[in-house]
Amino acid sequence: MPVTKKTGVNSETGIPGPAYNQGPDVWDKVTGKAVYGIDLQLPGMLYGKVLRSPHSHARVIRIDTAGAFAVPGVRAVLTASAIKNKPYGIVVEDEQPLAGDRVRYIGDEVAAVAAVDEESAGKALEAIKVDYEPLPAVYDPAEALGEDAVQLHEQYSGNIAWERDLERGDPEQAFKEADLVVENSFSIPSVHPTYLEPIACVASSDYMDNLTIHTALQSPDVVREIISAALELPLSKVRIIGPVMGGGFGGRVYGNLKLYLLSSLLSLQTGAPVKMQLSREEEFSVGRPMIAAQIKMRMALRKDGTFLAREADIITDNGAYSAQAPWVSKTLSERNDALYRIPHIRTRARLAYTNKVPTAQYRAYGNQAANFASESLIDQAAEKLQIDPLQLRLKNCTRAGDVTGHGLQIKSCALAECLEEAATRIGWHNRKKNRGYGISAGIHASGSLVLNQDFRGASARAVLELDGKVTVFTGEQDYGQGTYGAFSHIAAMVLGLDARQVRIYCRDTLVTPHSQGALANRQTTIGGRAVQLAAEDLKKLIEEAASEMAGQPVKMQEGRLETASNRDLKLEEVARYYHYRTSGLTLNGEGRYVPPPSAYDETGYGNISVTYSFAAHAAEVEVDRNTGALTVHRIAAVHDSGRIVNPHAARGQVFGGMTQGLGFCCYEGYLFDKGRVANASLADYRVPTAMDVPGMEYSFVETEDPEGPFGAKGLGEVVQVPVPGAIANAVADAAGSRVTELPLTAERIYRAISGGECER
């Protein structure tokens, strides 16, 4: 795969087509005009609130709601026995809208009320009396997998929500033949996506039980189906309309289904719109963080540094209910295997139920957690073999044309170039005194095919409006990552228009094409390709209508319609001609992109994604040996995301992703006091502030991917993947010893330096 060109920090040029576009709602956001879920108000709206379990694990003996009904202004009080309470779930059906006879974590939903204002709803909650019989609880996932452990769900025995045993090649033999085996155990806590806007929704319903949920989601069409099934409402009666999304980072793929279901039930019961929202504290304590992981990993190498085999034993902490945690566990335990050429692999992964906050998904699906473990281990090997960590990676890294151990087909890959460029940028060969340097690589699927193999692509419509402008209807989602900007750009490139002449219509399941949503890096790669095809279709339709109108062949070039006799036609003339001739229709281009099917066998071997993005990051850090205080001076990120469609949006993705990666690695992480989330606030759950962000630089090594639109690949998730490995390796380099537990706090680094003791 030829590397076509490098894009520097300030490059705005070098891409075909018209000038970049910031996306449709950027100005509304920066001027405070954008309407988010928390801003929504509907006439006659009620406020819903939830009564939550104070126990980690308990039997519910009795719920007395009489007092709540007596509170003035209360319109509905729901408990498990008052509703159908049908089980639902995303991978396994282990949840119900309200807890029935048992609560499984502190925060489990026991009752819901709707009242005319928040205060009355709060009073109603206080008036509900619940008798609990506390049960023994289990908090540690390894303990939960033990023989005598308390069982959380009868139907998932051994507290195993999901498990996987995987073997490729002959790892046993490879470990026997190895010149070197390195191993270590790593621990990564749960993290929260910490989107700026806590989840909020307003559910409204009419006399015919037509339900409309106003909430911002990354995958509204999938959520719509789950809600329809859980509430036993015909799908055509459920509509989701999205306000502007205040961040997502994977946390809003399916958002908070509990909240949508309860507000819907309260609305169906009262006939009024019902608003519910999570407080920031609830976001942390009952929202959906990513699973925590304990990773035990071994690697076998030859003396010359060749990777022979890798073995991992992984336990992930599901919390009380499952959502997407099985998928996240799968990505966490497998994706990193494709980053290097590793012929022999054995992985055991188990997802354990515990009496803690339920989990879901987060940007990069745990791939960054695996990166921390595997990249740390590679540096351990490099040290033992006395090989430069950069050279060891270059020797083993995946390259274009490879089919990886799990069957991923690597069609374009500039990983080696990324590694070399990141090393050069950080000063790998020209190190400063008293600084530590670390490098790490990352791969991430770009356009997953396996969310639903029957529905693996995307579709879009491009409509020529009567004023000659274009509206693209899409079911894909933009939560700030720049999808819509990229889409207007892609359609504009096809039609030869200015991107500002292309409007995006979105976030309404009644009108927009259905989609798998904004996850698995599918937006630009798959959704963008559908937009490209829709625009191409529209272009063809415009040319046909224009030819008919002019009575001679017309070609559309660089946005202009020119007849064979050199006469220019205006787009609005053609639009109106067609409109009148069809008595009201508009020119309507359709695009459907159906990627090649995935050959995915029963062991999970096969190509799971349209294509793959790659990155290498390098970090320069300083460690205060007397306290362990860490200063991350610089991170250099070099990415292969194929052709960069919008350099400005790409830059934002890189800076944002690196910052979030820094948070993941050095600052964030759930702290539990038994089952209680101890740091359920932004004061105690520490994300990096602007003052903590190091010097960041980046560049792109642009490959021509055969699948993505104009050769583009995803960027939003892969950008976080290499950060923990790069920083952890730089810290180990500076400190002379390794921290294997995230986040890399000063105390942990100090203890690694001092051998565990705190001198005094």
């Binding site: 702290l671 520490r686 990096p688 502030t689 903590d692 706090t745 000063a746 105390e747 705190c758 001198e759």
Partner: protein, 286 residues
């Protein structure tokens, strides 16, 4: 709730007098606005008597209404009360520093208030006036009544100014802070020190550490250890040990272990003291 802006000290005192304790002095509000429900407020931030940084009979006189940003940027404080400039540079976040005042930082009485820690090390005195117009002076460390509780009664008294001896020949001060993030993070430990040297011998010293008690705490044993000494490498190890030994700290799930916090107390006390001595030595040479 009512919000009154006093144009003069006289007017502010009159309001306090008339309201008879049912009002609260405000100057910045970065702590006060978090309290609910908010009482009636009298804003004194434009009262001339609490503003500005000047010299007054050989002392530095720093208005209680000076913001942390102003103090950190003041050339006089930077050169003659380094510890205070360093502390004010680290309080809260840039936004908090732009709004919050040094006086407010003290009256809020948080155990690890950065500016207060520096003021105690500098031996600062506070100048106050009450609603009846009578004024008093008190050492900053004596104004703490308990956790987050001040002897300055914000409903009847106004903190006007701080008086600090400027660091002249043979004198130096320094402030150190250790927190898990660069902004919006309480310190695990902060420390400030002041020394006066004569012929390289420490003849006056104050070392302050927080948060170990409700108020910034003088490390009395550590001060005794170094008083009369000629500072050299041999002493610093002992300073660390003594500082950590003479306080009691606790660990917490959210911050750090007890053991590590003891270690930090030692390291930060040593660093603050060492830096103050370095500065004092530099001034001696000049």
């Amino acid at each position: 709730m009512s919000y009154m802006v006093a144009a003069s000290l006289e007017q502010a005192l009159k309001i306090l007098h008339e309201k008879g304790g049912n009002v609260q002095v405000i100057a910045g509000g970065t702590d006060l606005y978090l309290k609910k429900p908010l009482p009636d407020l009298v804003d004194v931030s434009s009262v001339p008597e609490i503003l500005g940084i000047c010299r007054d009979e050989g002392m530095l006189s720093i208005g209680a209404g000076v913001t942390h940003t102003e103090a950190a940027a003041s050339a006089v404080i930077q050169s003659e009360a380094e510890a205070l400039a360093e502390a004010c540079r680290r309080v809260g976040s840039p936004q908090v520093r732009n709004m919050g005042t040094i006086g407010g930082n003290l009256v809020n009485a948080a155990p690890a208030a950065d500016a207060a820690v520096a003021l105690v090390a500098l031996g600062a005195k506070a100048l106050l006036v009450n609603h009846a117009g009578s004024s008093r002076e008190a050492f900053v460390e004596d104004l703490y009544a308990g956790y987050n509780c001040s002897y300055v009664d914000g409903s009847s008294e106004i903190l006007l100014r701080f008086l600090v001896e400027p660091c002249g020949q043979g004198m130096g001060s320094a402030f150190m802070r250790f927190a898990p993030r660069e902004a919006l993070s309480l310190p695990l430990v902060n420390s400030a020190a002041f020394v006066r040297l004569r012929e390289n011998i420490i003849e006056e010293v104050r070392v302050v550490i927080a948060p170990v008690k409700p108020a910034p705490t003088r490390l009395v044993e550590t001060e005794k250890l170094v008083l009369g000494c000629k500072p050299g490498e041999d002493i610093w190890r002992k300073v660390e040990y003594t500082a950590a030994s003479e306080v009691e700290v606790r660990g917490s799930l959210l911050r750090c272990s007890e053991e590590y916090r003891y270690h930090l107390v030692g390291v930060l006390a040593r660093r603050a003291l060492k830096k103050a001595v370095e500065r004092a030595l530099n001034r001696q040479r000049r």
